[in-house]
């Protein structure tokens, strides 16, 4: 999966417009990075990548790039 495709998954999850996200964006700057978004990310990782994502791991994510790296 390309980075653009991964970004599209996150944009869809966060209900953002296509192209709105880039790797450098800090999660703390995203308005809707809340508990439901975090739970959605856990589900997305499981559904799309077969990866278990813990709450502890999420707390270590700082930027969109950190999430993309975890997806690999």
């Amino acid at each position: 999966m390309t980075n653009r495709e991964k970004l599209a998954l996150l944009e869809n999850m966060l209900e953002l417009e296509e192209g709105e996200l880039n790797e450098e964006i800090k999660l703390s700057e995203l308005e809707n990075w809340n508990s439901m978004a975090k739970l959605s990310l856990i589900v997305l990782m499981d559904d799309e990548f077969g990866k278990k994502l813990s709450g502890e791991q999420i707390r270590r994510f700082e930027t969109i790039k950190d999430i993309l790296n975890f997806m690999e």
Partner: protein, 252 residues
């Protein structure tokens, strides 16, 4: 001395008996004299449960309830090897959290299969002639989640509400066979599911609100097992079609 919850000579099927409420229920029923048929996926854990039980004659069946079309054959085998049942307790259940935006039909279906459809199929099969004994009692483990909604729990809450609703119909339909059908409706209970939830969400404000609601304390699984035992016993012979709250006050 009398024991109103005496289960001597009773044969009781317990699903989900490898952990949590199911395991504690199997153990408690054995201490009250019941002979238990344990069903769950994991045979090793089922045998661990048997090691913690009292009495003799308990049997173990490793089975995944997701194979719903094979439940009929499982029940046929269980009745053949153990005799007609006095009781059925459906403790098997899953509680995955998923925001509405990702709750699609396949996810809903999976939760409903384990938590609800398998209970209906078990009751359908066990309530057939020669598979049950007069005075039999069937119990589903529901949850206060059937009455209190929460974010990300559409599938779980709906599956538990489905159980409560179904037992009211089953109770009426099976009364003429002398079968009673109820649910036990716990709030927060100290099980592995609870520990997992607290590890991930104990700091979330929602979790704190939910716990505060259960103002008299978190329920020990033995208390749920005792509620089940009471509904199984002949002491409860006119209780049917009900949902027995054991909720630490959370719905009051």
């Amino acid at each position: 001395m009398i024991n109103p919850m005496d289960l001597s000579e009773k044969i009781i099927l317990v699903t989900g008996a490898s952990s949590g409420i199911g395991r504690v229920t199997a153990i408690q029923l054995s201490k009250l004299g019941g002979r238990v048929v344990l069903v769950a996926r994991n045979k090793v854990k089922l045998n661990e449960t048997v090691d913690m039980m009292e009495g003799r004659g308990h049997t173990v069946y490793s089975f995944d309830l997701i194979q719903i079309e094979k439940i009929e054959e499982l029940i046929r085998q269980i009745i053949l090897e153990n005799g007609a049942l006095n009781g059925l307790v459906h403790c098997a259940g899953i509680a995955p959290m998923r925001p509405l935006g990702l709750t699609k039909a396949d996810f809903l279906h999976n939760v409903m299969l384990i938590n609800f459809y398998s209970f209906v199929e078990l009751v359908r099969c066990v309530s057939k002639k020669k598979n049950y004994q007069i005075g039999a009692s069937f119990i589903g483990i529901s949850s206060t989640s059937s009455r209190i909604g929460d974010k990300s729990k559409v599938a779980y809450c709906a599956s538990k509400a489905a159980l409560d609703s179904a037992v009211r119909c089953m109770a009426k339909e099976l009364a003429e066979k002398g079968i009673r059908v109820n649910t036990v409706m716990p709030g927060f209970v100290k099980t592995g599911m609870y520990t997992d939830y607290m590890r991930e969400y104990s700091n979330a404000s929602d979790a704190k609100k939910i716990l505060a609601r259960q103002y008299i304390g978190i329920t020990e699984p033995e208390e749920i097992a005792n509620a089940v035992a009471y509904l199984l016993s002949d002491s409860a012979k006119t209780i049917t079609g009900s949902s027995f709250l054991v909720d630490g006050g959370s719905l009051s």
